[in-house]
């Protein structure tokens, strides 16, 4: 009887420890995945912003910019879709999610001197803040991404 109780206790302990470790592993995986996703996504965003020559429209969740070259016209819209919880890079009919699992999202706009820009003509720098949440094994793993202020070079 004593052996049985001890065995049950030990197995329970082992199982819970094992589950805890598994969950921790999944969480670490989630964090690493979200981290790498945000780095790559923000790199893509920053690349287009740096090359922009004009800001057409701006809001906290949408940015419409011109990244045309001398020979190739190109207009890109960055948009946060709260339904799909994705931050999208939209070029023509092509829409590519560059951030996923985004619970909340804000873009902030600044003039060249660092004060807040209120109209597109004033925008010189853009900053992104995103809160990403991934759920797995009844856990919520949250990753906050705050970018640097990307500077539009030729505007």
């Amino acid at each position: 009887m004593i052996t049985l109780v001890l065995t049950v206790m030990i197995i329970s302990g082992l199982t819970s420890s094992y589950m805890f470790m598994i969950k921790s592993s999944v969480s670490v995986g989630n964090y690493a995945d979200m981290n790498s996703q945000s780095r790559i996504g923000l790199e893509k965003f920053g690349r287009d912003v740096r090359m922009a020559s004009q800001v057409y429209t701006m809001s906290s969740t949408q940015l419409d910019i011109d990244v045309s070259t001398t020979t190739i016209p190109k207009r890109v819209i960055f948009q946060y879709d709260s339904d799909s919880k994705q931050f999208l890079q939209i070029e023509g009919a092509t829409s590519i999610p560059i951030l996923k699992y985004v619970e909340s999202f804000t873009m902030s706009y600044y003039k060249h001197n660092g004060t807040t820009a209120t109209i597109p003509a004033e925008v010189k720098k853009i900053q992104v803040e995103a809160k990403m949440v991934r759920k797995s094994l009844e856990r919520e793993d949250t990753n906050y991404a705050i970018s640097a202020q990307y500077m539009i070079r030729i505007k």
């Binding site: 030990i10 082992l14 420890s17 094992y18 470790m21 921790s24 592993s25 670490v28 995986g29 690493a32 981290n35 790498s36 780095r39 790199e43 690349r47 740096r50 090359m51 020559s53 070259t69 001398t70 003039k111 060249h112 001197n113 003509a121 004033e122 010189k124 640097a148 070079r153 030729i154």
Partner: protein, 455 residues
């Protein structure tokens, strides 16, 4: 003895169970630690690479900055550049410390370096600990920019009062005409980032206003363009707080071989007319060792291309009903660090092309030179005096472009910016450049192979 054996037996059994449990835990923990290490290593590599990409952009821009400097200081700062491909300069910058024992290298190429539309390629590279080389390449397309691309720009303060009027026209289409040759393409303002540097009171601006940072003070004035709704007096779309420019101090040329002083001296009076320059003739160069003074009803007439360099602190005065007159294919370029006072009829430009009269202020101390235009004097000229304080009073009518330390206009003076000056360079090459495109060439297909420039 038996008890002792039994105790030994129980201990051996427990040790066995403990060993199994320990082994189990060790395996699980090892596996998890292994996963952690793998994830952490991957994350570290990604973070390191992201850091490097960010740093490489800045390194590439540093290379582009060096190329721009060389372009602006042509024949001076191409030292260290090679020209393996005709018409293109190339340079390698090495040993740029990125921390943690990493050093970056930048390959810079300037295509069409002697033209008006050069292109800069800058590729920054760094070798990661794994041996892999990561790089960033940018391409910057430039076009020449005139020092007079805006209109009337102060380094410090711009003050307009009275009933000043400002607009633009294009001298390549003919003389200014309020109906057929009048536009709203002039920018006036200050590049200063301090507050209250642009004060407009009672002026009518048919164009744009720019400041370095702050909001201009505009009262009892209009700022409009053709697209401005009739009911709007100050169009916010025509006001910018991001005006930026760099104005280098002009330097007078070496005067060796110049003619010393004007024929008959530098003071002209009475009804005297002194002619300099020869129509369709060679450039005439004068070095004036005394003040230039044109008084009474005298005339200094310029018939051909002329350059006048004033000695240190020698002034230029046009008073009474006197005038300096440019006729035919004449042109006049002044270099002076002394004060200029223009009254009387003023500097009369019969060619109606402002770029035929250029005044370079060589003073190097901000505010150390004054230029005044008064009465009803006319001036059709390009004034580049970044350290001079300029004032207009009375009813002078001026055409051209102005760069100065401070600019003050009052009375009912007018200023008409000549849009043709946007393409005017003081020499054979652009005085400045502006970026048309700044592109990060990230795809393999887009990247330009620079190896041919570095044999």
């Amino acid at each position: 003895m038996n008890n002792s054996r039994k105790q030994y037996s129980i201990n051996q059994s427990q040790r066995g169970s403990a060993l199994i449990i320990t082994l189990f835990f060790a395996i699980v923990i090892s596996a998890i630690v292994g996963i952690y290490i793998k994830l952490a290593t991957g994350d570290l590599k990604l973070a390191d690479r992201a850091f490097m990409y960010n740093a490489l952009i800045h390194l590439a821009e540093e290379g582009a900055e060096e190329a721009t400097w060389a372009l602006l200081n042509d024949n001076v700062d191409w030292t260290g550049w090679t020209e393996a491909v005709t018409g293109s300069k190339a340079k390698i910058i090495t040993g740029l410390d990125l921390g943690n024992g990493k050093a970056g290298t930048v390959y810079v190429v300037v295509e069409d370096f002697s033209g008006s539309n050069p292109t800069i390629y800058a590729e920054a590279q760094v070798q990661l600990p794994s041996g892999k080389i990561v790089s960033k390449q940018i391409m910057i397309e430039l076009s020449g920019r005139s020092l007079f691309a805006d209109g009337m720009i102060a380094r410090d303060t711009l003050t307009l009062g009275g009933s000043v009027s400002v607009d633009s026209y294009d001298s390549s289409l003919g003389a200014y005409n309020a109906i057929t040759n009048r536009n709203a393409n002039v920018t006036i303002g200050s590049i200063s980032t301090s507050p209250n540097k642009v004060v407009i009171n009672g002026a009518n601006i048919w164009g744009y206003i720019g400041t370095g940072e702050s909001t201009p003070t505009i009262t009892n004035s209009t700022v409009k363009g053709p697209e401005t709704p009739a009911e709007v007096t100050v169009d916010p779309n025509r006001i910018s707080s991001s005006l930026s420019a760099q104005f280098e101090d002009p330097v007078a040329p070496d005067t060796t071989g110049y003619t010393i002083d004007l024929p008959g001296g530098n003071s002209i009076s009475g009804t005297d007319v002194v002619n300099i320059g020869t129509a369709s003739g060679p450039l005439e160069e004068y070095f004036l060792t005394a003040d230039l003074r044109v008084g009474a009803s005298a005339t200094l007439r310029v018939n051909g291309p002329v350059v006048i360099v004033m000695d240190t602190n020698k002034s230029i005065d046009v008073i009474g009903t006197a005038k300096i007159e440019i006729i035919g294919d004449g042109s006049l370029t002044f270099y002076t660090d002394g004060d200029i006072s223009i009254g009387g009829v003023g500097i009369f430009n019969d060619t109606t092309v402002p770029s035929n009269i250029i005044i370079y202020g060589t003073e190097t101390i901000a505010g150390g030179q004054t230029i005044s235009l008064a009465s009803s004097a006319s001036l059709q000229a390009v004034i580049y005096t970044p350290n001079a304080n300029i004032s207009f009073s009375g009813t002078p009518d001026s055409f051209g472009a102005i760069v100065a330390n401070t600019i003050s206009m009052s009375g009912s003076s007018t200023f008409h910016y000549d849009e043709a000056l946007a393409n005017f360079y003081s020499g054979s090459k652009p005085d400045a450049y502006e970026m048309n495109n700044w592109l990060e060439l990230s795809d393999i297909a887009d990247k330009v192979n620079l190896t041919s420039y570095f044999p």
